[in-house]
């Protein structure tokens, strides 16, 4: 009965949690020759009580709640996928089940290698769901010294969101996406008006809240011109 009591309290916590926010952080350090490092982090620490409660329940809102083993397996799948990708090396993963922070980092030989990580997945998504996302997320023109974070908004994002139950929509209310791009040369301009350029001009940060992104009000697309 005590176990049931704790599960019941977990349900109360899940019901009372005003939101279950998460932050996604994409960090790229780009070298002059187009090689570099990528760090991708998912931070769910702000919702850790809710997530810990959720993980004690078998399913919520009709969805099966993943166990730690499931999450571990998913992370391993990401690493395996990176290992198979051409031009990707030094793959590392970190997991923190106390705070629910998970990250994967790697080195890439060039922008083609970086795009190669996700291009097949995006192609498959476009084929299956009839969407039109860019199959390459990044571009770098070494001669023109232009780095680009590509993104083409597809209305399927909002459609998928609308399809969610009200309770599930709450997950995105306080979520955000942050990108930090660092360069060896100073930045001349950044096309995204929400992006901030560091005083040293060698880093650009862009933070977009999930709801603005889903509704297509803000984009993560950014064309960054570097000084020759």
């Amino acid at each position: 009965m005590l176990k049931r009591t704790i599960k019941f309290c977990c349900l109360v916590v899940v019901a009372l949690s005003t939101s279950s926010c998460f932050d996604i952080l994409e960090e790229i350090n780009l070298n002059k020759d187009g090689s570099g490092t990528l760090l991708f982090t998912v931070n769910m620490s702000k919702s850790k009580t809710k997530i810990a409660s959720l993980m004690l329940l078998d399913s919520v809102n009709g969805y099966k709640v993943p166990t730690e083993d499931d999450i571990e397996l998913a992370l391993n799948d990401v690493v395996k996928h990176l290992e198979k990708s051409e031009g990707i090396s030094n793959i590392k993963k970190t997991k923190d089940f106390e705070n629910y922070i998970f990250s994967v980092s790697c080195n890439f030989e060039d922008i083609t290698s970086l795009n190669g990580i996700t291009s097949e997945l995006i192609k498959e998504q476009n084929r299956r769901e009839k969407t039109s996302f860019n199959t390459s997320n990044f571009a770098y023109d070494a001669s023109q010294r232009v780095f680009e974070r590509k993104f083409k908004y597809d209305s399927s994002i909002k459609k998928s969101f609308d399809y969610l139950k009200k309770e599930d929509k709450k997950v995105f209310q306080d979520a955000s996406f942050t990108s930090i791009y660092r360069f060896q040369e100073p930045v001349r301009t950044a096309s995204n008006s929400n992006a901030k350029i560091a005083p040293s001009k060698k880093a650009v940060m862009l933070r977009v809240d999930a709801m603005s992104f889903i509704l297509g009000e803000k984009t993560i697309q950014n064309k960054i011109k570097l000084i020759n």
């Binding site: 009591t5 702000k46 705070n99």
Partner: protein, 654 residues
């Protein structure tokens, strides 16, 4: 049409009136009877009041939509609002007949309910009807009554759903074999050619030959693929198609036969009376009570329902129910539920009457002693809810072996069933062994069987989380931040005389460094599998487990502020199980941000209109266990508790 059926039933459910004239048409062997006493309902809420509600307006709209504007209101349906509405379930040869009976003032408008061509109204002497061909559902009426029969055939043949007709798995290997053989032949041919060439010609010629050979190999593979086994034009497939068609025709014939039977069933209901009606069934008559209720549900003979729900054919040769004496346990079991809408509460009374044998087995389980000290740890002013259980561990341990033995008693089963006899002998041995090994009185010292779970508070708790702080160059570092979250506080207590065992278990926890001990209190900190701090202690033959150290400290010092009304005190102490939710306290404790956005503007309404819910189940008296569910409703703003529900639905529909 499904919407229409629902609307008709809902209308009837809400509107039907007093008297029992249609009950005489319900056969005495009906398994379930639901009665809606219209007069009582309309005394609480008039038809015009209902029609003016949003729910009523929606129903009117639906009627208008379904009849393409021919009918506009519930009144147009022609229900006779001076009589009762009935639903009953009868099982016959594996078919469930769900039947609704509605008295009619006029049936002139009923044909207008079926404006579509496919729903043809057929006139057959004194009755008219529409039958849906797929499911066999019948709506039939004469000048005074309407019946609505929904059959559910448990014998229906579902074999077409299984994989018998799917392409054979042998198809793939055939394909592969043909391809493989062709490739092997080609490769052998190529190899021979290459060897011959190697002997006689220059290297360049060999290369050319290999190229040619490769081409030959590819051509051979292509040719082999063309020769692939064509399953869909095969004899095997044609035979399967024939078998499928034959089964389809058999199913259709069986469905048509069942549709005819359903039609005859409906006609018989309207045109005649059963030899013995439900009014001659003593159990049903007893359940009628004083006639003050708005609705009543009576369920009879569970063993028959079980048998019909789970026919042997569906469960296969190893049907576990073949080995059990369901009749022994469930024969004569009835459940009666009566719904009453009072001025300030809606009450559902439930009587659960069981066989002598089952009552004898269950009684000792529910003879638990209530620990009066529990009352000292309840503060009704802050209480959000509780659940109490007063069972007897000793009674349960004594009763279960007897129950299992009765359930598998081989002497009551068919003598030729050897498997059942084996299971019966095995279960008897196991239960006997269990009885000998377990010291019921000893086990009851560890856990007597009385437990109380209290949801004592909703508390703002400060929690830490990891965030990032960025410097001006967007280098970041992890920082720990705090925020407040609303978490529930609970207190769980149970009687146990085994203090030593409790302390030893805690000692193991301490040695394993999972438990901390301080001030005669044990603390289990948050872990990945437990997001709450839990404190435990032992006092006065009671184990206390809770999430608030402050509350446990007060209990230890004897300063816990207890307050309990006599109603709740009676509910906890006299019931076998009791459940209570303080709706007002919960609504007021929940932070407004936790409500769905659409409800936030209505929090005042919710606070004003949410009261208590309690459910109590008594100990067994005679052969009956009685339960009562009471939902308190506010008097202010609502004529009575039925009007309250309609008003709440209206508000939610806004």
């Amino acid at each position: 049409m499904k919407h229409l059926y629902t609307t008709i039933f809902l209308c009837g459910l809400v509107l039907s009136l007093n008297a029992q004239d249609l009950a005489r048409k319900i056969p005495s062997d009906a398994n379930v009877v639901v009665t809606i006493k219209g007069k009582n309902v309309l005394e609480l809420l008039s038809l015009s009041e209902f029609s003016n509600s949003r729910l009523g307006q929606e129903m009117n709209k639906e009627i208008s939509r379904e009849t393409k504007g021919e009918l506009a209101t519930i009144e147009d349906l022609g229900f006779n609002l001076n009589e009762n509405l009935y639903y009953f379930l009868q099982t016959k040869e594996g078919v469930f007949y769900n039947t609704f009976m509605i008295p009619m003032k006029s049936t002139a408008n009923l044909p207008k309910l079926f404006p579509r061509e496919r729903d043809e109204v057929i006139k057959d002497g004194a009755v008219s009807y529409v039958q849906e061909s797929y499911g066999g559902t019948v709506i039939m009426w004469n000048t005074k009554e309407m019946v609505f029969v929904v059959p559910s055939d448990q014998n229906e043949d579902y074999s077409y759903l299984y994989s018998e007709d799917l392409p054979s798995v042998a198809v793939e290997p055939i394909e592969e074999t043909i391809v493989d053989e062709a490739v092997e032949e080609a490769v052998e041919e190529i190899e021979e050619t290459v060897i011959m060439e190697e002997i006689n010609v220059e290297e360049t010629i060999i290369e050319e030959t290999v190229v040619v050979a490769k081409e030959t190999e590819e051509a051979a593979i292509e040719e082999a693929e063309v020769q692939t086994y064509d399953y869909y034009n095969s004899e095997e497939y044609k035979k399967q198609e024939q078998r499928r068609e034959q089964r389809r025709l058999e199913r259709e014939a069986s469905k048509n036969t069942q549709n005819t039977v359903t039609l005859a069933f409906a006609k018989q209901l309207l045109q005649s009376q059963p030899t013995r009606s439900i009014l001659q069934n003593n159990s049903y008559r007893k359940s009628l009570g004083k006639g003050n209720d708005e609705a009543m549900v009576w369920m009879n003979d569970f063993s028959q329902i079980y048998k019909n729900i789970l026919p042997t054919r569906l469960l296969g040769a190893n049907n576990p129910y073949d080995f059990m004496n369901l009749d022994e346990l469930y024969k004569g079991m009835t459940v009666t539920a009566r719904l009453n809408f009072e001025q300030d509460e809606a009450v559902m009374g439930i009587d659960y009457t069981m066989s002598d044998k089952l009552a004898k087995a269950y009684k000792p389980m529910y003879e638990g002693k209530f620990n009066k000290n529990f009352i000292n740890y309840i503060n009704e002013d802050k209480l959000l809810g509780y659940m109490s259980v007063n069972l007897s561990t000793a009674g349960i341990l004594e009763a279960y072996p007897a129950l299992v033995e009765t359930m598998f008693d081989a002497t009551k089963q068919k003598s030729e069933n050897k498997k059942a006899a084996t299971i019966a002998a095995a279960s008897s041995s196991v239960t006997r062994l269990f009885s000998l090994l377990i010291d019921e009185e000893g086990a009851a010292k560890i856990l007597r069987g009385d437990m109380l779970l209290l949801l004592t508070d909703l508390r703002e708790k400060e929690v830490t989380y990891t965030d990032y702080e960025y410097d001006e160059e967007y280098n970041y570092k992890k920082v720990e931040k705090t925020k407040t979250e609303t978490v529930p506080d609970f207190l769980f207590l149970f009687t146990s005389e085994e203090e030593k065992m409790f302390r030893n278990i805690m000692k193991i926890g301490i040695l394993e460094e999972k438990v901390a001990y301080e001030n005669d209190m044990y603390h289990v900190g948050q872990t990945r599998s437990n997001p709450f701090d839990i404190y435990a202690m032992y006092k006065d033959n009671t184990v206390f487990i809770g999430s608030s150290v402050a509350q446990l400290t007060q209990i230890k010092k004897g300063t816990y502020p207890s307050k309990l009304s006599s109603t709740l005190k009676k509910g906890i102490s006299k019931s076998a199980t009791s459940f209570y939710v303080n709706g007002k306290n919960i609504i007021s404790e929940i932070p407004s941000e936790a409500f769905p956005r659409e409800l936030r503007s209505n929090i005042d309404f919710l606070t004003e209109n949410t009261e208590d819910l309690s459910v109590n189940f008594s100990k067994i008296k005679g052969n009956t266990m009685t339960g009562k569910m009471i939902l308190k409703t506010p008097e202010k703003g609502h004529k009575n508790s039925l009007a309250y529900f309609i008003n709440i639905i209206d508000k939610l529909m806004e």
